[in-house]
Symmetry: C2
Subunit: 346 residues, 2 copies
C-alpha cells in the first residue's frame, strides 16, 4: 500500500469544529478520515478551525467555526481558509477537499492533485462550478448521489465509529424516528405507520422546519403512543436504540447517504426505509431491514421484523460502513490518483 | 510611457453590468478606466458580466450581474468569475482588481502582479484578509480612506465623464441633496439647513433606509419648500443642477470619495460639505464650495456662495477628477509596478 512517504492535506469545512461538538456531518467525516489516516501512518495536515481536535498537523486561520462565532464573517472565513490550503499546495502530494464547490476554483492554480468528496450539492445553482471542473478527481458518498459527466474515481461510503453504538442484544417495543424534523425525512409518514400499526413511536432530532413540526407532527403527540424527545447526542441515541423495535426512515426525497441507518444497524436495530436514493445501498432488503415504497408496505413489513438477525445488521455495518472500511477505500483512491499523476508526468 | 506592449486584465465586479445601467459605483469606475486605457492604446481584457459594453476584450462567465438575475447565486458567480481571471493570469502583465477582498486570496497562486483598488472596506470583518495580503499592491480612492499597514502605491481619485454634466452658467434658487437616502448621507441635516435658511430644498436619490426616510425625511416634505423627487439618472441630475444654488452634502460618517461632489462641481454647482473623510480632498474650501462642521456653519456659508466662481469649479474637476486624469494616474501606478517587478526579477 502506498502510504507514509506521501503527505496529504485534508480540507475540512469551518462551519463547525472538526469533529463537531454536535451537528456537522461533513466535519464528522473529515475528522474520522483524518484520524484514521494518521493511525495508519500517513502524514496528514488538517485544515480546520483552531479549536479542532486531531492527531494530524492542524492548520487554522479561524479560531472557531463560523456557526459558533458570530464575530466571524462566513464568507471571509471560507476564502481565507480554503486559499491557505492551496497556498501550501507544494508541500503536499494530495489535497483532499471536503469543501463543496468553492475549493474547486483554486485547483487549476496549483500543481498538486485535488480530490473532492461531494458530500452533497448544496444547491442546483452550484452545478456550473462542478461542470467546469468536471475533469477533476471526485468521490461520491453513494452510487445514487451522482450527476452525469463528473470524473468520479469511486463511491466511498461514510464510515461510523462502531464503538459508539454497541449491539443491543434484544428488540425493544417502540418504533423510532431519528433525524431532522423536516418533510424530506418523512416524520409524518412515520407517524402514519405508528397509527396504523398501533405501535408506539419515539421521535428524536432537531426541528429544522418549524411550520412542518407545528402542523404535521405536534398535533399527533399524545405523550403516550407518539412522543417527541428533542435532539439527542450519542448516549441518547443508544437509549433510543435499546428501546427500538425498528427505525422508520421514510424519506420523501432521495437520500444522499443516510448515516442514521448505519448507526441503527450498528446497534442491531432493523431499519424500514423508503426505497429512494442511497437507502438501498445502506440497507440490504430482507437482511438488515426492509425497503418500502409507501406507508402500507412499511406497516406490512413490521410483521416481518423477526426475520432480521440483529448481529448480521451490525456485521454488515462493520464490513461496509466502518471508519476502517472508509479509510481503506480512500487509500485505494489516493493510490489511483498517485498512479494517474505519475503516468501523466512520465 | 510604458504601454501598448503590456496586457492588462481589469477585474470588475459582477453585481451589475459594466458599466451599470443605473446604480453601481465600482462597475462605473472599472468601465471608465477600461475604456480610457483602450483609448490610449492598451491591450485590455475586461472580466465582467456578458452583457457588459466595452471596447476591450470581454471575458464573461455570467450572463448578467447577480443583482439583475435571480437565477444566479452571487457566491457561485463570484467564485467562478474571479478564479477565471487568475486562471488566465499568465496571459497578462498585470491584473487590476476592483473586486474587494475575495480576489486577494488568489493572488499568491499566480506570478502575475495584482493591483487592487480598494473602493471601500465592505465590512470591518474583511480586514483580516487585507492584513494578510498587505504586501500586495494597493490604490486608495482618497487619502483619507486608508488603513495602516497596507502597501499603497498611490491615491487615485475616481474620474467622471465631464461631457455628461455640462456647465450650468448661472445659479438656480434651490438647495439640492443628491444621494442615497440614508443617515450616513445626512439628509436630515440638509433639511435642517433648508428650514433654518428658509431656502427650498430638492431631495433626489434611492431610499436605502426605509425607516429613516419615514421618520426623519417624509414628515418634512410639504411639496413646496421641501420636496423628494425619487431616484434620477443623468438627465435628471442635469435638471437638478440647473435649479441648484448649492449642493448640500452633510455626511455623518467619513466619505470615501464622494462622486456626487465632483458631478455637481462639474456642472458649476458649489458644494457645502461636511469636513469628514475625503470631502476636503474633493472640495477646495472657499473655491469650489465650503467645508463645514455643523448645520450652523452650513447655514452661515450659504451667504458666501457668491464668492464661488462656477467655471473654476468645473475647471478643478477637469483637472483632478476627470477620466483622463484617473487613467493617467493609473498608468503611472502600472509603470511603478512594472519597474518593481523588473527589479525583483533581475
Amino acid at each position: 500500500m502506498t502510504k507514509p512517504n506521501k503527505r496529504v492535506a485534508v480540507l475540512s469545512p469551518v462551519a463547525w469544529r472538526t469533529p463537531p461538538r454536535r451537528y456537522g456531518a461533513w466535519e464528522t467525516v473529515a475528522s474520522n478520515l483524518t484520524e484514521g489516516l494518521v493511525a495508519r501512518g500517513w502524514d496528514v495536515t488538517l485544515f480546520a478551525s483552531r479549536d479542532s481536535v486531531t492527531r494530524a498537523h492542524l492548520h487554522a486561520v479561524v479560531d472557531k467555526g463560523y456557526e459558533e462565532d458570530s464575530t466571524v464573517d462566513p464568507k471571509v472565513a471560507e476564502y481565507l481558509h480554503i486559499s491557505e490550503a492551496f497556498e501550501r499546495a507544494a508541500e503536499f502530494d494530495l489535497i483532499h477537499s471536503h469543501y463543496d464547490f468553492m475549493a474547486l476554483t483554486y485547483t487549476r492554480l496549483v500543481k498538486t492533485p485535488v480530490l473532492t468528496t461531494i458530500h452533497g450539492f448544496s444547491s442546483p445553482r452550484v452545478m456550473p462550478v462542478y461542470q467546469k471542473y468536471r475533469d477533476g478527481y471526485f468521490v461520491s458518498i453513494s452510487d445514487s448521489d451522482r450527476v452525469p459527466g463528473l470524473n468520479y474515481l469511486a463511491t466511498v461510503y461514510n464510515g461510523i465509529d462502531l464503538s459508539l453504538y454497541p449491539l443491543q442484544e434484544s428488540s425493544g417495543d417502540d418504533l423510532i424516528f431519528l433525524g431532522r424534523i423536516h418533510p424530506d425525512k418523512g416524520v409524518h409518514l412515520a407517524i402514519e405507520v405508528a397509527r396504523r400499526s398501533g405501535l408506539p413511536l419515539l421521535i428524536a432530532g432537531i426541528i429544522q422546519d418549524e411550520t412542518y413540526f407545528r402542523e404535521q407532527v405536534e398535533p399527533h403527540l399524545d405523550n403516550q403512543k407518539i412522543r417527541y424527545i428533542g435532539p439527542i447526542g450519542v448516549p441518547g441515541k443508544n437509549e433510543l436504540f435499546a428501546r427500538a423495535r425498528a427505525l422508520l426512515h421514510l424519506n420523501t426525497i432521495p437520500e444522499r447517504f443516510g448515516l442514521v441507518l448505519a448507526e441503527a444497524n450498528a446497534a442491531g436495530v432493523p431499519v424500514i426505509a423508503m426505497d429512494l436514493g442511497s437507502c438501498r445501498e445502506v440497507i440490504k432488503d430482507g437482511q438488515t431491514g426492509f425497503l418500502v415504497n409507501n406507508v402500507q408496505e412499511a406497516v406490512r413489513d413490521l410483521q416481518r421484523l423477526s426475520e432480521i438477525d440483529r448481529r448480521a445488521c451490525r456485521q454488515r455495518v462493520q464490513q461496509c460502513f466502518s471508519i476502517e472500511t472508509m479509510v481503506e477505500a480512500y487509500e485505494r483512491v489516493y493510490r489511483t490518483i498517485f498512479d494517474l499523476e505519475a503516468a501523466r508526468r512520465s
